[in-house]
Symmetry: C2
Subunit: 355 residues, 2 copies
């Protein structure tokens, strides 16, 4: 029986605290399912800068290379804010990880647990009930990595590049996920201004032929930023390039009102993936034991599903979280009247007990 | 006494309908102020494609060149949607106008009239009262115009370029407007990923030295897209490059809930400017006499203020609109219970009467 090997990179801020809870749940599930597994811990982000002089040290990369998936916490904090931009923990850890492991498909669900319906900044009639959308973001191309990129005297530049192949493979992920959901795909571009986005739209349209059951629409990114606020329920799967996906997925997360609840997956071809919460390292509340571990736990759940095919385990985690919310337990960020406020570890324990 | 010459380009969809109302008010104000003025009408957008084979014909450009300001309606509609992207009315009319006349500073106020407080998709406690922000967007540079831009086989690219001078002049507009408002400027960038945006941030920081009274902050664009939804009241003046400004200003407009109320100004050095509503040509309601003319009227007001130094005229228009809203008159888009629904021309007449 082969051993499942997972790289665990807790990072900075609340990362280690919420990761501890995700590991508790992970152990229980693996044991229940009779799996042999190994968690290999590595430093990443600010703590790796402090300990090894780099946000993504070679030793950590080696751990990742020897694993089948990466469970990532979050990185960054005020301590490292003075560093030059290219050495900042977030960028210097995440971008090379994405590129090295070919993690081109970023899945970011924006859902509202019915128990947290009131948390959205949007009016109830605007957000509706059962709000549930998925952003599929291209993660290893576009203006993030395009060459040339540089600075000459008083002129600085970046290049937004896409090839048809890059667009095809992320669009395929968009169409495939749409098939598993409500068969509705909205592709975001700026084809009225950008040459690369004209091609983006063409490729998506070409591929639509392979998916006659998916209803495809196109929206300019400025309009999408508006429509998400005006009528978010119109979307099911949103497909974006790297930069637009960065903006649109964050906006979508925030309209749920519970950023601390949202996981994300960054997938390569095959089964390798990196899984991390959508929120950040929240240095303001780090070390107090009050952070919400649910996003980290759900990210771990996504890992079980996408990297290890354990769909049932994912559902089990999801159901346990839902049960604990039904019981009225809340961390501070999702607290509401009549509920019981609990800390990070207690939340982990409750979910463990509810599995 | 010199004659004020204004190019009037109503365009498509609701453009001509709302423009007619703006012209009514304009005439009254000019007459009251004893100004000699000339309005020179030209075709632009889809109608110009139909009549002259181009969204921005030479004759229209000539009209603009012979004027001191451009009052612009809105362009585009389903009739022209089949055209190749670079011939689409919006792009083919607006981008060359901006570039030809050096309209580098786009001012987009996002305000909520107290009478329309409930229109926001955001909860009352989130949007607050007196919501009032101004987006200052760079409009003639960045990835919209950067070279090279093109396509080679299966690879397409665009270039995001900024020079220090380009950043300086738009940042100056940002700082100057902040000085006239609440002395709070938030500059949006993506300095953690883009080389051009590292320089953007540097230049803004350098210039901050000239404005010790302005409190300056920096925010990544993804975070800004979130913060606008989470806590929009934290912003006063937002400074952005062209692409980010496109997205962020639209998002900001929509959170007011009254896009049909919002004007915009696109300014060159000196007093030349183009003024247009923030919303589009709304082909779905064109020709029915029900469109809201207020954004067009306010755009005209901004023209009087910025191109002709008629600050008082602007305030007079603003006050008249406020009075009509107080009287309970509303077009369909801003209708609410207990108010009286009126059409485009009636709204124009009421505002005229309230001047
Ligand atoms: C930290 C930053 C480089 C990163 C990005 O822009 O992709 C982050 O915002 C994200 O969305 O994961
Ligand atoms: C029509 C389009 C080219 C334009 C832009 O992207 O600038 C529009 O969205 C705007 O904001 O004025």
């Amino acid at each position: 029986k082969s051993t499942i090997r997972i790289a665990v990179l807790p990072g900075d801020g609340i990362g280690p605290e919420v990761m501890a809870e995700a590991e508790k749940i992970l152990s229980k599930i693996m044991d229940d399912d009779g799996k042999t597994y190994e968690l290999i811990h590595g430093d990443v982000g600010g703590i790796a800068i402090d300990n090894h002089g780099s946000a993504l040290p070679g030793s950590t990369l080696d751990i990742c290379r020897n694993s089948q998936a990466i469970l990532f916490g979050s990185v960054g904090g005020p301590k490292w804010e003075g560093l030059p931009p290219e050495q900042q923990p977030e960028r210097a850890a995440l971008l090379p990880l994405r590129k090295t492991f070919g993690l081109y498909a970023n899945l970011r669900p924006a859902v509202i647990f019915p128990q947290l319906q009131d948390a959205s900044p949007l009016k109830n009639e605007v957000i509706g009930t059962n709000f549930d959308l998925l952003v599929v973001r291209e993660l290893t191309g576009g203006i993030y990595f395009g060459e040339p990129k540089g600075r000459e005297n008083d002129r600085a530049f970046d290049t937004l590049v896409y090839t048809k192949d890059e667009i095809r493979r992320i669009a395929r992920v968009g169409f495939e996920t749409a098939m598993k959901r409500n068969r509705k795909l909205c592709s975001i571009d700026k084809a009225n201004v950008l040459t690369s986005m004209v091609m983006w739209r063409e490729v998506v349209n070409e591929m639509a032929g392979d998916y006659p059951d998916v209803s495809v629409s196109h929206m300019y990114v400025d309009n999408a930023a508006m429509q998400l606020v005006k009528n978010p329920g119109q979307f099911d799967v949103i497909l974006c390039g790297n930069m637009f996906g960065d903006i649109i997925s964050d906006e979508a997360s925030m309209i749920t009102g519970s950023l601390g609840m949202l996981p994300s997956a960054s997938l390569a071809d095959g089964s390798f993936g990196l899984y991390e919460p959508s929120g950040g390292s929240a240095p303001d509340i780090a070390g107090q034991g009050i952070a919400n571990p649910i996003a980290q736990i759900l990210s771990m759940g996504m890992m079980l599903k996408y990297s290890f095919g354990m769909n049932e385990a994912y559902s089990r985690i999801f159901a346990a979280i839902s049960k604990v919310l039904d019981q009225g337990f809340r961390t501070g960020d999702i607290m509401s009247k009549g509920c019981t406020r609990i800390g990070t570890a207690e939340m982990g324990d409750k979910i463990l007990a509810a599995l």
